[in-house]
């Protein structure tokens, strides 16, 4: 009986392993196919439209080595992190206050909801008139795109803290600060992290748009420069870095969420 069971279990594990291996093979094959198509299309079309894949790889290596890529990446990263930091530092307290004081929520939620649904990139020309062309308007546009998911998620997190959690604390004479620190904070961390995860993608869009339309710096500026000079091999390099940045940061936030708040998994996009 036990023997046959273990045999069955072993067989099942083996089957699972083969499926996994086959899935990986299909994925690899699919990626290789695209690279081949890219390579062939690049050879057949004029260079000003598309370069073969290997030239992009070579260009990536060259730009990494001669340092052309380093300064724009650092410049983009600092704008992005500044914007995300401001969004978290403003958005979390705002969401907390709105969740805690219903009158404040009434006063502010029309604006928060409205701006969340509005394509705020439309404000970039105005921001650039007010704040100039360099780092300030870029950080501002990142904040305008990234802050609303954080506010709304924090607010939703506070809203989930019900009376069954709040009343025992206040009946034991917990101060407002103690309630915030020991009851509300643990409950909202997963929501805040989910909000930050949404903000990363939106923030990168803001970053790129900012770099396109104010002073052309960073990865977005590099991209424009290569595209307008028809240097199609180099053009894809900043795009790759941006994709890696977006993907890497999203994975990083997800991992952080797992570490900081493993007790609850909340995946929601609220409002948008």
């Amino acid at each position: 009986m036990t023997v046959s069971l273990t045999v069955a279990a072993a067989r099942e594990a083996g089957a699972r392993r083969t499926t996994k291996r086959r899935n990986l093979a299909i994925r690899l094959g699919s990626v290789v196919a695209l690279v081949l198509v890219w390579e062939i299309c690049g050879m057949l079309t004029p260079r000003i439209f598309l370069s073969p894949f290997h030239e992009t790889v070579v260009a990536f290596w060259r730009l990494c080595r001669d340092g052309t890529l380093v300064a724009p990446t650092l410049s983009s990263l600092s704008v992005l992190f500044a914007g995300l930091a401001v969004s978290v530092l403003l958005g979390v307290p705002l969401g907390l206050l709105m969740g805690r004081y219903v009158r404040l929520n009434w006063a502010l939620s029309p604006y928060v909801n409205g701006l969340y649904a509005t394509p705020t990139v439309a404000l970039l020309p105005l921001l650039s008139l007010w704040l100039g062309l360099y780092i300030a308007p870029k950080v501002a546009i990142v904040v305008l795109l990234a802050i609303f998911p954080i506010i709304k998620n924090t607010y939703a997190g506070v809203a989930t803290v019900g009376h069954e959690l709040l009343e025992p604390a206040s009946s034991m004479q917990a101060s407002e600060f103690q309630i915030a620190r020991y009851v509300i904070a643990p409950a909202i961390v997963p929501f805040v992290m989910a909000g930050i995860r949404l903000s990363v993608g939106r923030g990168i869009v803001g970053l790129v748009v900012g770099e396109f339309f104010t002073a052309q710096t960073g990865l977005g500026g590099l991209l424009i420069r290569y595209a307008s000079n028809f240097r199609t091999a180099e053009m894809f390099v900043p795009i790759f870095v941006l994709v890696a940045l977006g993907y890497g940061l999203t994975v990083l936030v997800a991992a952080l969420q797992e570490r900081i708040a493993p007790w609850k998994e909340t995946e929601r996009d609220l409002g948008q």
């Binding site: 899935n23 094959g29 009434w106 604006y111 909801n113 394509p119 990139v121 439309a122 595209a227």
Partner: protein, 268 residues
């Protein structure tokens, strides 16, 4: 017995009504405060950089009654890109999502690309597509499709994968065909996910349309906005921005309403 109940009920009703009045007063006061701040700061600052709200409204009205209908044609131009792009993206996203949700082969083949595109800042593709497609509506529609298709497909795939076997097994055991399974069981059960995907996709589509209009051929509402701001016509600049905001809020509200209706039916 009934009398105290009625009294309690009345008290609750009165409290609800009072809180509604409170809310109305607070919203009205904040709005008044916001508008007067805008008006006053508009008068105090350099007119090259800002305009008071009264001038903005006058400019808005003038642009509406303007015989050349620049604003109206801008709106039409923007919608002519947004509507077809979003429709194509919705259908394509649904098909892609169903394929990836139902077939492991399709999932394994397409997932690397969906992951990459989902994480690509879609506006970064505008310069590339500009090279390939030139300046025109094709470029804008393609970029809108690229922006909106993946949120839809990712949500649909997640929804289908989330429907557990307890939905599909009974239908299967009653010999439902794959088509019946899809139309009668899987799609109704994934509707909430589909709605969430459409909402997300719409937000991305709107942002992308504007950036595309800033970037190529200064047309549409984004183009009008860009042109007005680069000639320092502050009051004029706000009209397209207000229309865009109204558009985003209206469509988002509509989708939220639909989503709630769908969820209600789904729960019933």
């Amino acid at each position: 017995m009934t009398a105290p109940d009625d009294a309690a009920l009345l008290a609750v009703r009165a409290r609800v009504r009072r809180s509604k009045i409170d809310r109305f007063v607070i919203v009205a006061m904040t709005l008044a405060g916001f508008l007067s701040f805008w008006e006053i700061s508009g008068h105090l600052t350099n007119p090259m950089f800002f305009a008071p709200v009264s001038e903005v409204l006058i400019a808005f009205w003038q642009q509406i009654i303007d015989p050349s209908h620049t604003l109206l044609s801008g709106l039409v131009e923007t919608l002519a890109v947004l509507v077809p792009g979003f429709l194509i993206a919705s259908i394509l996203g649904l098909v892609l999502g169903v394929l990836m949700g139902r077939s492991n082969l399709a999932l394994q083949i397409l997932d690397p690309y969906v992951t990459i595109f989902y994480n690509t800042p879609r506006v970064a593709l505008i310069p590339v597509l500009l090279l390939w497609l030139g300046v025109g509506d094709t470029l804008k529609i393609v970029i809108v499709v690229l922006a909106a298709v993946f949120p839809v497909s990712v949500n649909v795939t997640a929804g289908i994968r989330d429907i557990s076997a307890q939905f599909t097994e009974p239908a299967r055991s009653m010999n439902a065909t794959e088509g019946q399974l899809l139309w009668k069981v899987i799609l109704p059960a994934t509707l909430p996910y589909i709605m969430a995907g459409l909402k997300l996709g719409l937000g991305r589509a709107l942002t992308t349309v504007i950036v595309a209009e800033f970037f190529v051929s200064l047309s549409g509402l984004g183009g009008i906005l860009h042109a007005a701001s680069s000639t320092y016509q502050m009051a004029k600049m706000f009209a397209p921005a207000i229309i865009l905001a109204a558009m985003g809020i209206t469509i988002d509200g509509l989708l939220t309403y639909l989503e709630r209706r769908v969820l209600e039916r789904y729960r019933a």
